[in-house]
């Protein structure tokens, strides 16, 4: 059972499959880092992203590029709208943490209901076939989807890193993340930073949903389940540590894949939550929340 080929195969496929989760976790964690919000509206954005692509590909039958573009534009716009006309209003009002949670969660549900009305509840895939050609590399089966997934995820992370590290805008984000008030004093607009982040998050979400939608069926409700993985990843990664969250997402994926070698597969999913439990109940200090009040503007 523990022969190297199998381990290598599990490792590779595990990494590949965790790619979409990495992308959505990064979007989620980055938003949390900069805005200090657990933005559950991302679930709604995921739904928008997927069904836009689905409609453009299967409804209008336009090429993939058009679908991706449309999804990016639409999701980005939605994300910005939520930031500007939703979150900002609540911030100005000095609303509490719970209000933000209610707003983002219920908004997601709202979006999902609308989509259910438009597209029904049958599981849909972006392309008719979910089978992607396989090449055997040193006895390890590598499907084209795997390659794309890993490529997109790695690319996304690299770009984000470069952006945060070297671009002015990116440094502003970090500044705002550390202390919005202070940043304002140095003439960095927190509002602007928040809008930039919401746009970036949208892009990550589109990428993630492309991968999800080419790998298996998606129903309007799926995003609500997907976002939970993002939440868990963010928790384990440690709030404010975007790339650690990404790593956590991969770790969770691999943990589940490998665990099957030692424990009954039906317990796999529980294992995930077991890890979460331990974090919450035993090492809660391992995960710190940023002082929200400070991060909320107008305070």
């Amino acid at each position: 059972m523990l022969d190297p080929v199998i381990l290598a195969q599990i490792l590779w496929t595990g990494i590949a499959t965790s790619a979409p989760y990495v992308l959505m976790t990064v979007g989620f964690a980055l938003t949390l880092k900069v805005t200090g919000l657990w933005n559950f509206a991302h679930a709604g954005l995921m739904a928008i992203a997927f069904y836009t692509m689905f409609f453009v590909l299967n409804g209008l039958e336009w090429p993939l590029a058009a679908a991706l573009l449309a999804a990016a534009v639409l999701t980005g716009a939605a994300s910005l709208a939520i930031e500007v006309w939703g979150l900002q209003v609540l911030r100005d009002r000095g609303s509490g943490n719970l209000t933000f949670f209610i707003f983002t969660l219920i908004l997601s549900e709202f979006i999902i209901y609308v989509i259910t009305l438009l597209f029904g509840t049958e599981p849909e895939t972006l392309f008719k076939s979910i089978l992607s050609p396989v090449t055997i590399i040193g006895q390890v089966a590598v499907s084209d989807w795997d390659k794309v997934a890993v490529g997109v995820a790695a690319g996304g992370l690299a770009l984000l890193y470069a952006f945060l590290a070297w671009s002015r805008e990116g440094q502003f984000l970090s500044a705002v993340a550390d202390n919005a008030r202070l940043a304002e004093l140095y003439g960095i607009s927190a509002k602007r930073a928040w809008r930039v982040v919401s746009a970036i998050a949208a892009l990550f979400i589109v990428a993630a949903m492309y991968l999800v939608g080419t790998h298996g069926g998606v129903v309007p409700n799926s995003p609500l389940e997907l976002i939970l993985t993002a939440v868990i990843g963010t928790l384990l990664g440690g709030i404010g540590r975007v790339f650690a969250a990404a790593a956590a997402a991969v770790f969770l994926g691999l943990l589940q894949s490998f665990s099957i070698l030692v424990i009954d597969s039906r317990w796999q999913n529980l294992l995930l939550y077991g890890v979460l439990f331990v974090t919450i109940l035993l090492f809660p200090r391992g995960v710190r929340l940023p002082p929200l009040r400070l991060l909320l503007a107008g305070r």
């Binding site: 657990w38 009002r93 000095g94 719970l98 209000t99 709202f110 974090t279 919450i280 109940l281």
Partner: protein
């Protein structure tokens, strides 16, 4: 009539749920989403005891409440050590984890749900009986919570919600107060769960997931957070209106999502235009 009576029992149970939830988030200002899991804890405890132990129903229901209380203290004590904000996310994880456990265990009936819960009361009197019991419990809950939030204890709760730091610096032990409020609210939810299990004689894990949280949240927010009657109004509306809508005779394909859209939209509108809900006096923040 059976049909209306069942809706009545359901409404009563949800009044208990939303009111106790309001005590926790509205009055206590504790951000949690896990209320349904304590509802579930009560339901499963009572249900399993009903099946496997010969103990009287009321005792089992109470034990269900205690189990929920225990679970809630476990969660609150560990999460609140970190921060009030952390509780929100911790509760979410707690709910998901516990549900997953229920689905994986065999004696809980797994994902298929727990069947064969004895009916206890039989005959024509059954539904009226449960209607009275659940109704009485609902009234007791609403009035009990009202009693709690009035008087010196309620004053302390309000102060804590307004300015926790100042409150603590005056010599008040905010953390243990929070844990107590949380335990009371969740314990009540557990009792509601017990009644639910006994009346419907079947429970399945999917009935207690995050969408259920959103539903109870909707009741509270719509009705009015931090008010006595808000959650009641919310629960009645959310359970009664759909019944009414069914008589509009829309094609079902439209109806369910349409309802979802209506209610979620209402919540969003209230959140921005009237944060204090239908009942509440317009307060600046929730």
């Amino acid at each position: 009539m059976e049909y209306l009576a069942t809706i009545g029992v359901l409404i009563a149970i949800y009044v208990i749920l939303s009111s106790s939830y309001d005590l926790v988030i509205g009055y206590g200002g504790l951000s949690t989403v896990a209320h349904p899991i304590f509802f579930a804890t009560g339901a499963y405890t009572a249900g399993l005891l009903a099946i496997h132990s010969g103990m009287p129903a009321p005792l089992n229901v109470v034990l269900g409440g205690l189990a929920a209380m225990l679970a809630s203290v476990l969660l609150a004590a560990s999460a609140l050590r970190v921060s009030g904000d952390y509780l929100l996310i911790a509760s979410l994880g707690f709910q998901l984890g516990l549900l997953q456990l229920i689905k994986n265990l065999d004696f809980t009936g797994g994902p298929g749900g727990l069947t064969g819960i004895p009916g206890t009361v039989t005959g024509a009197a059954r539904t009226p009986f449960f209607l009275i019991v659940s109704g009485a419990l609902a009234v007791a809950t609403v009035l009990g919570i009202r009693a709690i939030v009035k008087g010196p204890y309620g004053r302390a709760i309000t102060a804590m919600r307004d300015e926790e730091l100042a409150f603590t610096a005056l010599g008040r032990d905010a953390t243990s107060m929070k844990i107590v409020i949380f335990a009371i609210g969740c314990g009540i939810a557990g009792i509601a769960g017990g009644v639910y299990a006994y009346y419907f004689q079947y429970i399945s894990p999917d009935q207690f997931d995050v969408l259920q949280s959103a539903a109870i949240l909707t009741m509270v927010v719509l009705g009015g957070m931090g008010t006595t009657w808000g959650p009641v109004v919310g629960a009645v509306l959310l359970l009664a209106i759909p019944q009414a809508i069914t008589f509009l005779n829309l094609p079902p394909g439209i109806m369910a999502p349409a309802q979802g859209i209506i209610f979620t939209m209402l919540v969003l509108l209230f959140l921005f235009l009237r944060p204090a809900g239908i009942v509440g006096l317009a307060r600046k923040t929730l």
